[in-house]
Amino acid sequence: MELYQMTIHELHEKLLNKEVSAKDVTESVFSRIEGVEDGVKSYLTITKEVALEQARQVDEKIAAGEKVGPLAGIPTAIKDVMCTQGIRTTCGSKILDNFIPVYTSTAVQNLFDEGIVMTGKTNMDEFAMGSSTENSGFFPTRNPWDLERVPGGSSGGSAAAVAADEAIFSLGSDTGGSIRQPASLCGIVGMKPTYGLVSRYGLVAFASSLDQIGPFTKDVTDCAIVLNHLVGHDPMDSTSVKIDRPDYTKSLVDDLKGIRIGIPKELMAEGIDPEVKKVVENALEIFSKNGALVAETSLPNLEYGLSAYYIIAPAEASSNLARFDGVRYGYRVPDPDDLMDMYMRTRAEGFGDEVKRRIMLGTYALSAGYYEAYYGKAQKVRTLIVRDFNKAFEEFDVLVSPTSPTVAFKIGEKIANPLQMYLSDICTIPVNLAGLPGISVPCGTVNGLPVGLQIIGRALGEEAILKVAYSFEQNFGWNEKPKLEIRY
């Protein structure tokens, strides 16, 4: 087994035992990147120099007998929506092609402080708007399981990098499913924590009330380990929750006995590919076989989730993205006639179609005379969805559904039909609207393409979903990997 194929916990042990150095691990991952990146195209920026320097520092510490944490020396890919000081951060957009942040986001800084080795910044749908990474302003990322297919999105680069062993783990952001859906399509573990659990400071905002940073990992154990170092109150983020961070690895217990699992029927309804549904149903048997109580439930307002989301998220985005105006940073049209001309052409040339579509949707939804009918109503729907979840959690410990209604689709298949694309997130969006934690774990394949199982918890119920996800992983025993051709 190559080092790049290993998990965080496997590598940590080898590093502590001095079987390998951080340099060895880093070089292994970069050799893998060199081998497969041409095909997968996970990265927008590769930061090999930074990585080798970080690895050197970790090796020094280990050599000096200093204590290092479980993430020290672990090659990590960062979605290009999180600011990294001195390192280009594009958000997958031409408008930020030349943007070099002057500060590092809190989440990334927390990991830097733990000694991670940053391999690079990963590709994404522009400003995290999309479900396939085809909306990247630069190039699409390909699914390591089938290079003709999308890795999902918007954190497609981060998901593909981990699935293709181009990083040991990675960070993504999830506004409507942007971690869980690509995790599902790439056959890895992806978690969106409770809203407010991970600081958003330095995460370039798409929809502020929905955005949340989370990890992509190769297994549930790694997910808990990363979470331990990602979670924490940040005084720079007013929406950051103040809690005593638990040790999430303590939830890694294989015990499903008596756990009440609800299956929202609205998330198993039409729109879910029958083959995907079948795989999920098979997976559910693992739960009942191991002592969990599985029952169908109903959250009637989930059906309005997608509509509400496509009002709220674009509304917030229309305001959040106003600052990309050519005045202070990023792209500016070279020959403006006047201020208005500069604004209009900078944004017309700098933004891609999907971003412009959502800015227009959001601007409309907030306009005088329409606010109540659209934004006001969408917020009411959001409240109803929160109530539905609260009610369901009176009866159940976790809720389970497919993560994505389909397996990875072909590049180009849905790009011309935005509504079709939006439906990719039908199962994940309600979780963001309610601010709840959700995790996607692999639960089988359809035609050789991975299917993900979504486990949803109560607000701050990360421990419960980690326990269920870990138990599922242990009992399901799935360890398929994409077969990638190495092209040196």
Binding site: C83, T89, L96, A205, D237, S318, S319, D325
Partner: protein, 485 residues
């Protein structure tokens, strides 16, 4: 037809917090451009606002001092519009749930009292400052423009009055009273000159007795209380003329620019292109929730306010209402008065007379506030003491006042330097009176013939010969004695 004017004021006040509204940057004024900035107030991608608790406290205190109801649940909204001085292209402000509502200011206009309602007080962030290079210094025609973000994110409190103001004098009195109240709270410099207090005025006219509103104009660039009053007077006159001369089309809803030099208002922009600010609650900030205990805690901390001080001045110092009004017009004025009375230990009315007489004259001439001059309470107290001791006459005191005002020299020093001490030597004065009587024999005759006025003339002549330094009481007495001889 007789018209009445309807005026409402929107007043922006920069709060005197140490740090900005949503970040830790300093609010210090006058630093090199863009040195008081960080990712938050520059609106860099990914940065997030965190509300300044002190600023919120200041606004609530202001609201309490202005008799407002405090909203125990209040929200920040985003006001969306594009402009290069606004780093995020939206301003964090408040919309339908401001911190304070339903306040008032009572005005004592001398011959009548009036009450001006305050609709709301809300908290927002200031914008940066644009400097247009080339052209006429305005954005249109400029070669290029520079932005200084030092001011961006400074906490700004907006106080919106009801359209209860009826005259330019009331508008000025309202703004001055508001300033005095905020000064006593210490929440702002409230300086119109430095731009920490900015007044916009909405004005319309309507037939007297009508309940409907006319078409209003918003006046901008009002950089002093005087220009506020002048601009309103001009605009009311303009609107009245337009209606009287059958040109109602000259009054349109628009923003008008006050030109201080020309003394006129002119169209800045019409409301045809009314902005749709697309207000919505800022998802980066959590709602503000207060307990009534907290509000009462702040209320208990309120200092003495101008109205209370005025009452106290009348009670404690026996000042008439008019003087008490003027002396509490600004915090500095009242502080100066009380400090002087304390040092002087004499009649407070004498202090009031000097402050509202000579002192106010020089302040107005120089356009200065009382705390911006070299004169301190010690100066005035000493001056009064010198007069009481008979060292100088009132006339001399008036003469040395300007020098004291300009140089900050203590009165004793000026008197000594110029040899201006009063002549109280009987022998010396007697000699001078003899001379006066000799030179003005005909006036002496007139006096003896019963013309009382002649006495004053003779006193004046004696004063002239002493170059104003003669002790007036002494001159009076000796002159009377000599005339009776």
């Amino acid at each position: 037809m007789e018209y009445e004017s309807v005026i409402g004021l929107e007043i922006h006040v920069e709060l005197a917090t140490k740090s900005k509204m949503f970040c830790k940057c300093s609010t210090v004024f006058g630093e090199a451009p863009n040195t008081q900035t960080c990712p938050v107030c520059l609106g860099l991608p990914g940065s997030l606002p965190v509300a300044n608790e002190k600023a919120v406290e200041y606004v609530i205190k202001s609201g309490l001092a202005l008799g407002c109801d405090i909203n125990l649940y209040s929200l920040f909204h985003r006001k969306n519009y594009f402009y290069p001085d606004m780093p995020k292209d939206y301003q964090i402000s408040q919309y339908d749930q401001p911190l304070c509502i339903n306040g008032l200011i009572d005005l004592d206009m001398g011959d009548y009292q009036t009450r001006i309602g305050i609709t709301r007080i809300h908290l927002e962030e200031d914008t940066g400052k644009l400097i247009h290079v080339g052209g006429a210094g305005r954005i249109a025609g400029a070669e290029y423009s520079l932005v200084d973000f030092n001011r961006a994110g400074v906490p700004l409190m907006e106080i919106v009055s009801e359209p209860d103001i009826r005259t330019p004098e009331e508008a000025k009195a309202y703004a001055q009273k508001l300033r005095a109240i905020l000064q006593s709270l210490g929440v702002s410099d409230v300086s119109m000159e430095k731009g920490s207090m900015r007044v916009d005025a909405n004005v319309s006219i309507r037939p007297k007795g009508s309940a409907e509103f006319g078409t209003k104009a918003e006046l901008k660039n009002l950089n002093s209380f005087r220009s506020l009053q002048r601009a309103l007077a001009y605009e009311i006159e303009r609107q009245t003329k337009a209606l009287n001369e059958g040109r109602p089309e000259d009054i349109v809803q628009e923003t008008r620019h006050w030109d201080e030099a020309k003394g006129i208002t002119s169209t800045l922009r019409t409301k045809e292109y009314a902005h749709d600010y697309r207000y919505f609650p800022d998802p980066d900030l959590v709602p503000m929730e207060f307990t009534s205990d907290y509000v009462e805690y702040l209320r208990a901390q309120l200092p003495e306010l101008p109205d209370e001080r005025k009452q106290r001045f009348m009670r404690e110092y026996g000042l008439p209402v008019h003087e008490a009004n003027l002396l509490t017009e600004s915090k500095a004025m009242g502080d100066f008065f009380e400090e002087t009375v304390k040092l002087y230990k004499g009649d407070p009315k004498a202090v009031a007379n000097w402050m509202l007489g000579d002192m106010s004259y020089y302040l107005n001439t120089e356009g200065l506030e009382i705390d911006e001059t070299a004169v301190t309470p010690k100066h005035l107290a000493e001056l009064l003491k010198l007069m009481d001791k008979g060292v100088i006459s009132g006339k001399i005191a008036k003469e040395i006042f300007p020098e004291m005002f300009e140089t900050g020299k203590l009165p004793q020093v000026i008197v000594e330097e110029k040899g201006m001490t009063q002549i109280s030597n009987e022998e010396e004065i007697a000699k001078i009176i003899d001379l006066v009587l000799e030179e003005n024999a005909s006036t002496v005759e007139e006096y003896r013939a019963g013309k009382d006025k002649a006495f004053g003339f003779l006193v004046g002549q004696a004063m002239r010969l002493t170059k104003g330094r003669g002790n007036p009481q002494l001159i009076n007495r000796l002159l009377r004695e000599k005339l009776q001889e």
